[in-house]
């Protein structure tokens, strides 16, 4: 095995011989990518299960949709609430949530870009916006859950005559029980990732303010948590499509 000492030689004999970065990224960044890949596989498992269960249920084929345990609900008839207004606004709130998360992804990219230029003040500013966006999303998701759990005024009359309101892990007014179970698990799992992402962002923001990365000479840590944050946004894009649109 020819061992070349110079770290920038790009011939295949020494590229994998050790001492250089074969994929031209640092260890930390590469491991973040592979972690994200594994997390993507986990979320895919959940979404695949959702697709399988959803398509194995009957669909509503009539004219005026009413909720029932016998067929899968139509999302724009379930998710119709927005805060502060008692109007029928199908999917509006989830659209706002998607916009918030995409915006926070944009501010994260802006923070990374500022880090490349060693612009400490700009990194702080954009990271603060990202953290704020993350908290807004978490609050919105919590509100969505509370509406979902609370239920509608009329509730649903079950086959045995009893009336149930809202959804939990043991009863569901909007449709089959699995719909509620999957909703809580998938959005809950995603929400937990958003929470951990916000916490990570706060920690790294603190480090930025303390000048840790300025002293280190690069803001690569901002880039690494940025990757995690974009992943969280990416998962939401898929969850939102499969749960609310399809």
């Amino acid at each position: 095995m020819g061992h070349s000492i110079s770290a920038n030689v790009d011939d295949s004999k020494s590229l994998w011989g050790g001492g250089v970065e074969p994929l031209k990224v640092s260890y930390g960044k590469l491991m973040m990518w592979f972690f994200l890949l594994s997390d993507a596989i986990t979320f895919s498992g959940l979404l695949i299960v959702y697709g399988f269960i959803r398509f194995s249920h009957p669909v509503f084929l009539g004219k005026e949709f009413v909720t029932s345990q016998h067929y899968w609900p139509i999302p724009d008839h379930v998710f119709t609430h927005i805060p502060f207004a008692h109007i029928n606004a199908p999917l509006v709130f989830v659209g706002i949530m998607t916009f918030i998360l995409i915006m926070s992804s944009v501010t994260m990219v802006l923070a990374v870009e500022a880090g490349h230029r060693m612009d400490k003040k700009a990194v702080e500013k954009w990271m603060l916006w990202t953290i704020f966006g993350g908290f807004c999303f978490l609050g919105s998701q919590a509100w969505e859950w509370s509406i979902f759990i609370g239920g509608s005024h009329n509730g649903l009359k079950l086959d045995d005559g009893s009336i149930i309101h809202g959804a939990s892990l043991i009863h569901n007014e909007y449709g089959p029980q699995l719909f509620a179970d999957l909703f809580f698990f998938i959005t809950g799992f995603h929400g937990t990732h958003v929470l951990s992402g916000v916490i990570l962002n706060i920690i790294i923001f603190y480090n930025v303010v303390m000048g840790v990365y300025e002293k280190r000479g690069h803001y690569e840590m901002v880039e690494k948590v940025g990757l995690y944050w974009h992943f969280v946004d990416l998962v939401w894009v898929f969850v939102f499509t499969f749960f609310y649109l399809v």
Binding site: V25, F52, A122
Partner: protein, 118 residues
């Protein structure tokens, strides 16, 4: 939000270059446009009586397009070494196949349970 040169603390740290953010906002507008289009379809599929499977297909394709922009641009993957790009893209391609297969299986189960024994 900054759209160009922003004043920064350059006195003690030396010159900080101007931001290069145009590509970021470009990608943002593309993502926003695609999402708005998805919402448009979601609201008009009823009145326009669009075929359900066509709508699902369009949603899935547009979601993949958005995923491409987020991963390639925001996560910088398109600028990385090809080997790294493939390490991420190929497993995801297999997962996409898995999703498709399970959706097909799901409809088969539906058919077997609900249609076959009428």
């Amino acid at each position: 939000m900054a759209h160009g040169h922003q004043s920064s603390n350059t006195i003690s740290q030396g010159e900080i270059p101007a931001p290069q953010t145009k590509w970021i906002w470009n990608t943002f507008w593309i993502l926003l446009g695609i999402t708005s289009f998805e919402f448009l379809i979601a609201f008009t599929k009823g009145p326009l009586h669009l075929n359900h499977y066509l709508v699902v297909f369009v949603f899935v394709v547009l979601t993949l397009v958005k995923a491409f922009y987020i991963v390639a641009d925001f996560m910088h993957l398109k600028h990385e070494v090809k080997a790294l790009v493939m390490s991420i893209v190929l497993p995801i391609a297999f997962i996409a196949w898995f999703i498709l297969a399970m959706l097909i299986e799901g409809t088969f189960v539906h058919h077997s349970v609900y249609e076959l024994f009428k």
